[in-house]
Symmetry: C2
DNA sequence: GGCCCACTTTGATCTGAATCAACTTTGGAT
DNA sequence: ATCCAAAGTTGATTCAGATCAAAGTGGGCC
């Protein structure tokens, strides 16, 4: 069964069952840090790994905390965020299944990691994992690719934060959810679940929750999207949505 | 002679001389991608490298252009930027000496790379460099570290773009210049050269050039900084400056 | 030396999003 | 079923920074 990235949080029941999952049956097998491991290496990982679960809202790691384990996100959504002394906060990363937590050679993390929905991690103790990285070039390579993907995402996000209007930010956010869910869903259905509250979306986009709410309302009134529920909506006019993102209309196609 | 990062642009004469520099005498020897290479490996690099220079304002690479070479920035300052259809632009990276251009496994770049000041690159053709990376674990490791450093910088920047006020942005920017120059300057002198125009600073910080100018004027009037020239100023009150950044007062020190 | 153009500063006005403030909806606990 | 807290909506007002406009300033070039 082919679940959307954002669906698992609804059904916490499924999570404990991961403790019995074999690497070869793992849903993120082909995208995570272990993507290019062969059968032998998978065997080694099998012996090293352990699963941990966190309920929506729980903090997985605090900023500055020593990082004793690294992990792949198996199910759910987690966020990386920075908070200023006076409480202003900004999300600086959104982790989806197959994303990696922790970095080789760094003992501390520079941001809080929080479970946005219920989350399951596949954890490895730091030391043995680092040994593995040193000895297994394709794990190191995959880690590099994941880091570069994050860097690209961070840069698109910087453009959004620095230059886009509230409307463009919201449209870009929805468009991202559409693209992400099409990776798993078989394209057809345009019903999208929001993995976060209005407040979390605001922290993601550098807005306030009131502005987020108003922009959603505006897009609804214009018939671009239709909310079936406050956490679930349907895309009515994908062209209008993409126009509203402010991004290039041709997705990088050479002209 | 120990030059500041931002000084070389003044004195273009020095740049062509890099073509004769040996890796072992290279100013970025210990920080660049080659940082951990041994004498033999340096020998190999010596044979592969070539220098290129760009005048301030020249575009080094256009977005979407095939990336036939990778490079280390030897001298000067370059910027990575994204531009929207209507002309709004946002810098998404600032490259200083020892920073790396190009990524293993990616043929295209997602942003423009522009020489902010006069710039000298140490270039390697793509193919042989990738072969070297595959065969030399510590080059791959160093590349990973550089990518992770960029990612950390991008995340701090996201907090700045999403949540900081114009005043905080400017103070953070100046504070960054101070920290960077202290890496090379022997700490004492507090005269800082701006490597960019007001317009470029605005694109860096997600502001307009008028707002940048006004905030500089305000900090001058308050006696926090003193401009000797429009490209050069002196820090008069570092404590007030750091207060104005909005960042934690204790630089991550455990309390 | 003087002219020109790119850069910068400063002022006046406008506006999008923040802030402040009710009020409504929803879903879970009892 | 009812209550309650958390989440969301909507409206009124304010304000930081954008935009529009007009002068300064200085470095490079003939």
């Amino acid at each position: 069964m082919n679940r959307g990235f954002f669906d698992l949080d609804q059904d916490t029941m499924a999570i404990p069952s991961f403790s019995r999952i074999k690497c070869s049956d793992c849903p993120i097998r082909h995208r995570a840090v272990c993507a290019r491991c062969d059968t032998d290496e998978l065997e080694t990982l099998e012996g090293m790994k352990s699963y941990r679960s966190y309920a929506a809202g729980e903090v997985i790691l605090w900023r500055g905390e020593p990082l004793n384990f690294v992990a792949s996100l198996v199910a759910g959504v987690a966020s990386l965020s920075k908070t200023m002394e006076d409480g202003r906060t900004q999300m600086v990363g959104l982790l989806l299944p197959s994303d990696f937590i922790g970095r080789p050679g760094r003992k501390l993390i520079e941001f809080d990691v929080t479970a946005t929905t219920d989350v399951t991690l596949c954890c490895f103790d730091r030391k043995p994992f680092e040994k593995l990285v040193d000895e297994t070039p394709h794990v190191a390579q995959r880690l590099m690719e994941l880091a570069l993907d994050e860097l690209d995402a961070a840069r698109d996000w910087m453009l959004l934060l620095g230059r886009k209007s509230a409307r463009e930010k919201i449209a870009t956010f929805i468009d991202m959810l559409v693209r992400r869910s099409q990776g798993t869903e078989p394209l057809a259905n345009t019903v999208i679940r929001l993995p976060m509250t209005r407040d979390q979306i605001a922290n993601y986009l550098g807005l306030t929750l009131e502005t987020v709410s108003r922009q959603f309302s505006a897009l609804k009134k214009e018939g671009v999207v239709d909310f079936t529920d406050r956490r679930q909506f349907e895309i009515k006019d994908i062209v209008a949505l993409q126009d509203a993102t402010g991004d290039d209309s041709d997705g990088g196609v050479l002209s």
